[in-house]
Amino acid sequence: MVALARKTLIYEWRRFLPAMLAVGFAGLLQLLQIALVLGIFGSTSLYITGSSADVWVGYPGTQSVGSGRTISADVESRVLMDPAVQRVEPYIWVDGDWRGVGETGGVSVFVSGIDPGANGLMFSKALPPSLRARLVEPDAVVVDRSALDQLGVDIGQTATINGHPVRVVGISSGLRALGGVNVLCSLDTARRLNDDPADNGPTYLVAKLRDPSKAGAVAARLRGATAFGPYTTWSADDFARLSVLYWLFDTGAGAGVLFLAGIVFLVGAAITSQTLIAAVNGSVREYATLNALGVGVAALRRVVLEQAFWVGALGLLGASVLGLLLLMLARSQDVPVVLNVPAALACIVLVMGLAAVSGLAAMRSLRRADPATLLR
C-alpha cells in the first residue's frame, strides 16, 4: 500500500508545520497549566500523601484536611478493634495566629500535632526522623524553609501561637501550604496551643493497615457506627482526592483549567483545521483523479484523517519534549509542578481530539474533489 498520507506529510512538511506547531503549543499550554495547578493544589493533600496512614477517620462531611472538626477520642478503640488495623494514632489540627520576633504582624498558621515517636505515621514521608524526634520537647515546633521569611524566625528562636510560646527546633522542606503556613509539633504541644475549650478530641485518627491495598474496604467497614459519636472514614487516596478537588473547585481554579482547556482546544482546532483544509485543497485535483479512477471517497477521507493523526502525534511529541524540559526547569526553580498519569492522559486526549476534529473539518473539503470538474 502506498503511504500517501505519510509521504505527503514528509514531502510537504512546510505545509503541515503550522498545524503541528498549533497542536504542539496547545498541548504544551495545557500540560503546563495542569502541572502547575496540580503542583499548587497538590499541597492541600500533603498531610495525607506525606504520611503513611492508609485510612483516615474524621468528622462527617469534612470537605478538606484543613476543615476538620474534632471527633471523640473513643473512636480510636473502635478502629483498633478491626483486625486489619495495625496501628492508630491521633492527628490534631489547630488553626493558629503566629506572632514572631521579627516585624511580621500576625501570620495565619496551620498547626499539625503529630505523634513524635519513631513509628509515627503522620508526615513520615516528609519529615526526617531526627527532626521528628526533636518534637518530643515541650513547645517545640518545626517550620518549613519556604516560610521562614514569612514567619520572621530562624532556628532556635521563639515565637507565640495563639498566645502560647513556642520554639523553632528544626526546619523542614517540602511542607509548603496553601493559604497559610504549616507548623509541626507534638500532640501534647498542639493540645496546649488550642485555646478552644470545646475541642477535646483529636481532629483525625489515622490508621495503618496490615495490608494497605484493603484501605477502601476497611474504610467502608469502619463507617456507620454511631456509638462513639459522629465520625466517618476515608481511604487515604479518597481523602487526598477530596481535598484537592475541594480546593480546585472552591477556589474556581478548576473552572479556570476547564475554561482554558476549552479555549486552547478551539484555537488549536481552528488553526489546525485551516492548515489541513489548505493541504486538501492543494491536492484536490489529485484526489479527484483518484476518485475518477474509482478510488472511493471513504479511502480518500482516510488519507486526510491519517494526516490529521500524524499532525497530532508529531505535535504531541514536540509538546512532550518541550514540556518535560520546562517541567524540569520549573522543578529546579522550586516552582510547584506535578504531572500524573491521568493529567498526562487528559492532555493526550485533548490534543488528539483536537487533531481529529480538525481532520473531520478538512475531510469536508474533499467534497470539492469531484472528478467531473477535471473535465473542462
Binding site: 479512477l293 474509482g294 472511493g296 467531473a372
Partner: protein, 250 residues
C-alpha cells in the same frame, strides 16, 4: 498487431449512448450542451472527438465515462446502464473498468512515478506483488522504465503525462478516457502520447476515447467524430493512423 479487431466486429459497441441530453443552468441562463445525441464507440480502436471549445465534447466524455449524469437518454457501458448505478456502484464500475488521462497530469508531488501508478492498484484488491508487477509493466510500456523512481518535479511534461497514462493503463481497463491529453505538451511529446494511446487500443483491445481540439491528433485516430454545438457533424474512419504509428521509445 490487432488481436482485438476480429472479435470487436461481432460484439456490439463497448460504449453506447442513446438519445442523451444535458443542459447546464447558470442563473437565468439555460444552456443545452447535448441534445438527443446517439453514439456508439467500438472496442479496440482510438476514437477522437474533436471540435472547438464549448462544443460539448468534454461534457460528452464526462457522461460516457459515468462522471456526470444525463438529463435524459441512456448510456450503456460494457453492458451496464450507467444511469442505473448509485454513486458507490459507479465508483466500483470506474475502479474495475475505466482509466482516465486528464489535461493536467494531476500527479501527487510526494510520490515517485512508480508509486503514482501503484496507488490506485492498491484499492483494486490486488496483492502487493501483483500491483507492483503491473506498475512496472505499465511504466515500461510508456517508456519510463528508467525514470520510475523520480518524483513529478524531476520529470518533464511529456514524462508526467506518460506516468498519468501508465497509472490508467496499469488498471488494465476496458475503457480509457483521455481529455485533451496533449494540449499542455509540445509537438514531439504530443505525438508520443497519441502514439501510446493508439497502441493501447490496438495491443490491449481497449476502447480509447480521446477528446481534443488539437488538429495534430486527427491523423492518428482510427475514427474521428467532429462535434459542434452539441451535435456530431461528421464521423470519419481513417486507416492512415495505423500505418503512421511510430514505435514508442523504451
Amino acid at each position: 498487431m490487432h488481436p482485438a479487431t476480429a472479435s470487436q466486429q461481432i460484439s456490439g459497441p463497448a460504449l453506447f449512448a442513446e438519445g442523451i441530453s444535458k443542459a447546464f443552468v447558470s442563473g437565468q441562463q439555460r444552456t443545452q450542451v447535448l441534445d438527443g445525441l446517439t453514439l456508439g464507440i467500438e472496442a479496440g480502436e482510438l476514437t477522437l472527438i474533436s471540435g472547438p471549445s464549448g462544443c460539448g465534447k468534454s461534457t460528452l466524455l464526462a457522461i460516457l465515462s459515468g462522471l456526470q449524469k444525463v438529463d435524459s437518454g441512456r448510456v450503456h457501458a460494457l453492458g451496464s446502464e450507467l444511469g442505473q448505478l448509485d454513486p458507490r456502484a459507479l465508483e466500483r464500475f470506474r475502479l474495475q473498468h475505466t482509466g482516465f488521462v486528464f489535461q493536467g497530469f494531476n500527479l501527487f508531488p510526494a510520490l515517485s512515478a512508480f508509486e503514482q501508478v501503484e496507488l490506485p492498484l492498491n484499492h483494486m484488491g490486488l496483492s502487493r506483488d501483483e500491483a507492483r508487477r503491473r506498475a512496472r509493466v505499465s511504466l515500461e510500456e510508456v517508456g519510463l522504465a528508467h525514470r520510475m523512481r523520480l518524483r513529478p518535479s524531476e520529470l518533464s511534461g511529456g514524462e508526467k503525462q506518460r506516468v498519468a497514462i501508465a497509472r490508467a493503463l496499469a488498471k488494465e481497463p476496458e475503457l480509457l478516457f483521455a481529455d485533451e491529453p496533449t494540449s499542455a505538451l509540445d509537438a514531439a511529446n504530443g505525438q508520443m502520447i497519441i502514439d501510446i494511446l493508439h497502441r493501447i487500443a490496438h495491443a490491449h483491445g481497449t476502447t480509447v476515447l480521446c477528446v481534443s481540439h488539437d488538429p495534430r491528433l486527427v491523423v492518428h485516430a482510427d475514427r474521428v467524430l467532429a462535434m459542434e454545438d452539441g451535435r456530431i457533424l461528421s464521423d470519419r474512419r481513417t486507416h492512415a493512423a495505423v500505418t503512421q504509428s511510430k514505435e514508442i521509445p523504451s
